[in-house]
């Protein structure tokens, strides 16, 4: 039974209450093109274009020591992109709206970066706590602020993605649920029009949020060297 407004975010399916809905996380794999023939297909070229643009963007942000990790961040981007985008389709589950998934992405990443940074480049990490050009009086406060901002990074990465997805879906659901009981057709057409606009916005947000997640992860990686 739909007990509350957030029932669309429940991963339990109706088949013996197994959480089958989580397979939407891996469905994006089906959309990525294969290269079977020597000359690539149109979608293959399109996808390669997107991936190479991202690779160039991330290459500019990463230091020479960690250039190989653009592969990881581009993969992260595409996974989150497909998850966000497929979640906009009717009846399809949005797995990136769950903190379970977004934290599972951001927390291991951040912990790895912190551990490798503090163990291998301790001096460098301490130096990063004070930005360039800080007046001497402000330094203790800057260290405190930078430490706190460092600690909340996995939280912000995870919550930003999950909250954006939930907010968009919630708005669409709320608008949609007033539709059936509407008697005036003018207001109904306005409602449908605003839903179409919201859907366009949500598609853009889906792409942007995945990009933001990947870029911020790249920046955090570039900082430890």
């Amino acid at each position: 039974m739909m007990a509350n407004l957030f029932s669309i975010f429940e991963p339990s399916s109706s088949i013996f209450n197994f959480s089958l809905n989580w397979i939407s996380t891996l469905l994006g794999l089906m959309f990525i093109p294969y290269l079977y023939w020597a000359s690539p297909s149109r979608w293959s070229l399109c996808w390669s274009e997107i991936i190479f643009t991202l690779h160039k963007e991330f290459k500019a942000l990463l230091t020479p020591y960690s250039l190989g990790s653009t592969l990881f961040f581009v993969g992260l981007f595409s996974m989150i992109l497909y998850n966000n985008f497929l979640g906009l389709l009717p009846y399809v589950f949005t797995s990136s709206s769950h903190m379970a998934m977004t934290l599972a992405l951001s927390l291991p990443l951040w912990v790895t970066l912190m551990l490798s940074g503090w163990i291998n480049h301790t001096q460098h990490m301490f130096a990063h706590l004070v930005p360039q050009g800080t007046p001497s009086i402000l330094m203790p406060f800057m260290v405190l602020i930078e430490t706190i901002s460092n600690i909340i990074r996995p939280g912000t990465l995870a919550v930003r993605l999950a909250a954006n997805m939930i907010a968009g879906h919630l708005l669409l659901t709320l608008l949609g649920n007033t539709g059936p009981s509407m008697s005036s057709s003018i207001i109904l057409s306005m409602l449908i029009f605003s839903q179409i606009l919201l859907l366009t916005l949500e598609s853009a947000v889906a792409i942007i949020q995945s990009y933001v997640f990947a870029v911020l992860s790249t920046l955090y990686t570039g900082e430890i060297n």
Binding site: S14, S24, F31, W43, L86
Partner: protein, 106 residues
């Protein structure tokens, strides 16, 4: 036939390069041409352990037709999206079927 191996009937010298969409076993009457009386024997001749191979060949046939040609359109993505929607609708059907009896819809 193990996972990732060629089918036992495939012979590189006879068949040429391997095509994952082609069935290399003994040719049988296509389903559209089977007479009604022969239906039982036709079903009996089916190889139930070859279902993963059949799924794989169907997947590659779909790819060859829709995704891999040089000038594709939007059709394969539309088919994939509709397929996703159908799968998730069927998974969640039991939860949704009660909505028509509810007064308040959340």
């Amino acid at each position: 036939m193990g996972f990732g191996e060629y089918p036992p009937e495939y012979n590189a010298k006879i068949h040429g390069p391997y095509d994952p969409a082609r069935y290399y076993g003994k040719a049988d009457i296509p389903f559209g041409q089977v007479k009604l009386g022969e239906l039982g024997s036709w079903v009996g001749r089916r190889n139930m352990s070859g279902i993963p191979g059949a799924v794989s060949r169907a997947f590659w046939r779909w790819n060859h037709k829709y995704m891999l040609p040089k000038k594709t359109g939007f059709a394969p993505f539309a088919q994939l999206m509709v397929g996703c929607m159908i799968v998730f609708y069927s998974i969640n059907y039991g939860k949704m079927v009660h909505h028509r009896n509810h007064k308040y819809h959340w």
